[in-house]
Structures are given as C-alpha cells and as structure tokens.
C-alpha cells in the first residue's frame, strides 16, 4: 500500500522532528509565567490529542468510503488509523492527568473535556473490540465503519465542551477563532511538536498498513490452497 522507502523516510523525519520538538519544547520556549516548567507538558499533551483527532478523521473518511465503495484497502486504512488513534488518545489522557496533578491538585475530575475525551477513547476501544469479535470480515468492516462514523461525531463535542460547559480544563488555545493566547516562542514549539507527531502518525500508519497487507495476502493464499 505504502512503499517501504516512504515508510522509512517518514520514520526518519518523525525521529528528527521529535528531537527538534524536544529542543524547542525544553530549550527554545521559555517557562510559563504562571505554571512554570510543568507547562512544558503542553508540547506533548496538545499534539497527542490533536493528532488523535486527525487519526479519527481518517477513520471517518475511510469508513464513508468503505460503505460507498466496499474496497478492502480503505477498510484497512480505517482499522489501522483507529488503532493508532486509540494509542494517541490514551497517551494524551495519561499526559493530561499527569499535568493535572500539579496544576489542579488532582489526577482526574469529571470535567466536561475530560469526560468527553474518555468517551471518545471508549467508543474507539469498542470499535477495535467489534473488529476482533465479528468473525465475518465483511460484516465486521461494515459494522465498524458505521461505528467509526458515529464515533467521530464525538470530536466536535470534545472540542466545544470547554465552550458549552463550565470546565476546569482551559479553553482552546490553538484551534480557536481570534488571536492566539500563546506566546510566539511557545507557539513555534507547539507547531514543531505537532508536525513531528503528524509524521509519527504517518510512519505508524504506513507500518500498520504493511501488517494489513500481509494479513490480506495470507487470507488470499489460504482461500487459494483450500480451493
């Protein structure tokens, strides 16, 4: 699906991006005037959650395409992207929880942003379980495509939760209308880390698609040999 050369290039670029991201996040960007050094978790937590949105958006588009065209390739893309999205969301929640302890005084609170993000994680964990449980591959792909489309609809709710409800979580500082509330150096560090995590996502997706390709080949050979 994606050539090994492209996969390798994405991997190398992701590692370079992450190293530059660490430099910008820990050296280039100043410490926050209010939170101090702990605010540097923003360069990890925000890219993790934003790239998980990207991963679930890919699931959403691939699921629509699967229901329309029934192409196994787009189903493989949806499955792979959902798996990576779950990993990134779980890590974003963990990083946010670690950030919450020194700033809010608690690891977890049933705040609207945290709760809707936890629901997002549960929806896509259910998506992966559905794929594992339904034996008929075509039916499993159809059911999970429907769940993938519905699951994505939680993302606008997650994003708007800080506007619609009174929350402990701070309002959006990147995906917002009007001027940014973040200092320029911090914004540079944030965008560098965001680009690095997009590259990491691309690399993991290419690698995961190679597994799907091998699985597809295995199924084809089994069918051929069994007649």
């Amino acid at each position: 699906m994606i050539g090994r050369g492209v996969e390798r290039a994405l991997g190398i670029l992701a590692v370079i991006g992450l190293v530059v991201g660490l430099y910008t996040g820990f050296v280039y960007a100043p410490a926050d005037a209010v939170q101090g050094e702990v605010q540097r978790l923003m360069y990890l937590h925000v890219p993790l959650i934003l790239v998980s949105y990207v991963a679930f958006f890919v699931v959403f588009v691939a699921s629509i395409l699967y229901l329309w065209r029934r192409a196994s390739m787009v189903d493989a893309v949806a499955h792979s992207s959902a798996e990576i999205g779950v990993l990134l969301t779980a890590l974003a929640i963990a990083a946010g929880s670690i950030w919450g302890r020194p700033t809010w005084g608690t690891w977890w609170t049933w705040d609207a942003r945290l709760t809707t993000t936890a629901i997002l994680l549960l929806i896509f964990l259910g998506y992966l379980m559905l794929r594992a449980l339904v034996e008929d591959r075509s039916r499993g792909a159809t059911f999970s495509a429907v769940l993938g489309i519905i699951g994505f609809l939680d993302i606008p709710i997650v994003h708007m939760s800080v506007v619609w409800w009174r929350t402990l979580h701070q309002p959006a500082s990147v995906l917002r209308s009007g001027p940014s509330t973040v200092a320029p150096e911090m914004l540079v560090a944030l965008y560098v880390n965001l680009a690095a995590f997009v590259l990491l996502y691309g690399y993991l997706l290419a690698k995961r698609l190679r597994l799907e390709e091998a699985k597809g080949e295995l199924d084809r050979l089994r069918m051929e040999l069994l007649g």
Binding site: G36, E37, V38, R40, L41, L44, H45, L48, I84, L87, A90, L91, A94, A95, I98, W99, R101, P102, L200, L204, K207, R208, R210, L211, A214, K215, E217, L218, L221, R222, E224, L225
Partner: protein, 48 residues
C-alpha cells in the same frame, strides 16, 4: 512542588507507549509474513 518528575514521567510514558506499539506491529508483521512464505512454498510444492 518539583515539576520535573511530572514532566519526565509523561514523556517517558509516551516513549514507552509508542515503542511498545511499534515493536508489537513489527513482531506481528514478521509472524504473518512468515506464514505467507510458508503457504507460498506449500503451494509451489503442491503444484509440482
């Protein structure tokens, strides 16, 4: 409160999580590719 244990533990957790996933996909791909090769050679043997 010293912020560094929090900052470093979050970064470390992310590194471990991503590396675990990376290794896990690599292992699964190796296993499935070996099965594909085995079936291919079995198919060639049957054709002869």
């Amino acid at each position: 409160m010293n912020p560094w244990p929090y900052v470093l533990s979050a970064y470390l957790l992310t590194v471990v999580g991503v590396l675990w996933y990376h290794v896990s996909i690599g292992r699964k791909t190796k296993v499935v590719s070996a099965q594909v090769e085995a079936l291919r050679s079995q198919g060639k043997g049957a054709a002869r």
